[in-house]
């Protein structure tokens, strides 16, 4: 119905947003009749949501007109931000930010670069930025999970680790099994995503491609390609971050410095 009334994408979009908001507000009013007062929170969230997303859309519109080489700077900025966010999962481990940034840069950067070189990812900003950001975001999550798990394992097994050190073991040997379990645990979401692809969920990228009129079979295959790239970059990131962070859990004199009291 709206399509017959609004003929430009912008006006149609605003009308669709208005309709969706009215529906959401109707539910809020329904809740009010049951003495559940969400009016203020819901109204602010709706207003904030539309402003934020329109702002992001405007920036994207600007970026899409930029030359292709600007993608490198955008993706680098994303990697730096991802490293900083992810490092917060490794509280008390010195050097966590550097380790996270290097690992994400190597894991996500290498996979993005190789796949772009191979022609799997198009060099157009409209393709490279969304796919690259998906790879970086997933590498960030995996890195955060790996560091968080490693930290928890080391804190929980400080006694065993120091016992092994006291028997003359090398620091990296004392935490090897905890590093392995951290890598394994951090990759569970990426592996489960691949396992459940198409059965439990149809990811956003494929949905977007279908909505924009792509061939459904190609959209499905390309979605698999993206999820497989995410697994590759996440795996590499997790492997590198746990390899690097285990050295940061010890001092130069091979003392465990990552402790609950520290």
């Amino acid at each position: 119905m709206l399509k017959s009334l609004f003929h430009t994408q912008l006006t149609l979009g605003l009308a669709q947003a208005g309709t969706a908001s009215v529906l959401a507000l109707a539910v809020v009013l329904l809740a009010r009749r049951r003495n559940i007062h969400l009016e203020s929170d819901a109204a602010i969230a709706l207003l904030r949501g539309i402003v934020q997303i329109v702002a992001v859309g405007s920036i994207l519109a600007l970026l899409l007109k930029s030359p292709r080489w600007t993608s490198v700077f955008l993706l680098t900025g994303m990697i730096l931000a991802a490293g900083s966010i992810s490092a917060k999962r490794a509280k008390n481990i010195p050097g966590a930010r550097k380790v996270s940034t290097y690992s994400i840069a190597a894991g996500a950067g290498l996979v993005t670069a190789v796949m772009t070189w191979a022609g799997v990812i198009d060099t157009a900003i409209t393709s490279l930025i969304p796919v690259g950001s998906m790879i970086i975001a997933n590498a960030m999550n995996t890195n955060g999970l790996a560091l968080n798990r490693f930290r928890s394992e080391v804190l929980a097994h400080a006694g065993e680790i120091e016992t092994a050190l006291a028997l003359g073991a090398a620091p990296e040997h004392t935490v090897a099994s905890y590093a392995e379990s951290s890598i394994h645990a951090s990759l569970i979401p990426a592996i489960d995503n691949l396992r459940s692809l198409g059965i439990v969920w149809i990811p956003g990228l494929m949905t977007g491609m279908l909505l924009s009129g792509a061939d459904p079979l190609y959209a499905a295959i390309y979605q698999f390609v993206v999820i497989a790239m995410i697994l590759a970059s996440s795996g590499l990131t997790s492997l590198l971050s746990t390899l690097m962070i285990r050295n940061h859990a010890f001092s130069a004199a091979e003392q465990l410095v990552l402790k609950s009291s520290g």
Binding site: G159, A164, A166, L167, G168, A170, A253, Q255, S261
Partner: protein
Amino acid sequence: MSVAQQTPTGAVVLRTEHLGRSVGDISVVTDISLDVYHGEMLGIVGPSGSGKSSLLRLLNRLDEPTSGTVFFDGQDYRQFSPRELRRRVGMVTQRPFLFPGNVAGNIRFGPLQRGEVVADEDIARLLERVGLSGFAGREVANLSGGEQQRVSLARALANHPEILLLDEPTSALDEQAKTGVEQLICSLVKDTSLTCVMVTHDRDQARRMCDRVALLEAGRLIQYGKPAEVLGA
């Protein structure tokens, strides 16, 4: 049961000089200077929080001193690699922290770090020494507290340490197991002239087992000498 209590006559094998460690603004060990003689059992006693275990952890460099140093075998212990130092200055903790698997695997652990494989006969001899003959293939999860602590002792001894640090080795055991482990440690010291530094909060145990004791309070060395002089009869 007790080790002969005598004035030390052997060579000094471990010496702390103005040893201290601070964590943030808190000084946990302050200006401790003492000598440990070859073949003696030195007890470190004091109330909870007096810095006994903190001092012990400085002796094998599990923690880093923030002042002073330790001389081992006549040299500043920072001249040794941490692994070599810890091989030569062994440690047994309050909880044994045995590694998953069987008893033999635990005993092999230390030497394996240097690429040495302990022969089955040597494992059998060590287990006999700690009163666990025939336990080599037993899973550590199925051992009692006293048996676990004996395995922990055998595991430390497999490294052929020159000094053994004991951090409250019997405090987590019941009375019967405690007596057995005490007797075992005393006989080890007596038979092999092994030098031991043992932390204990139990003054009676210190009187029973130690040649000399160092009394700590608030991280400082208060008194140092024969048990009867420091702790009373």
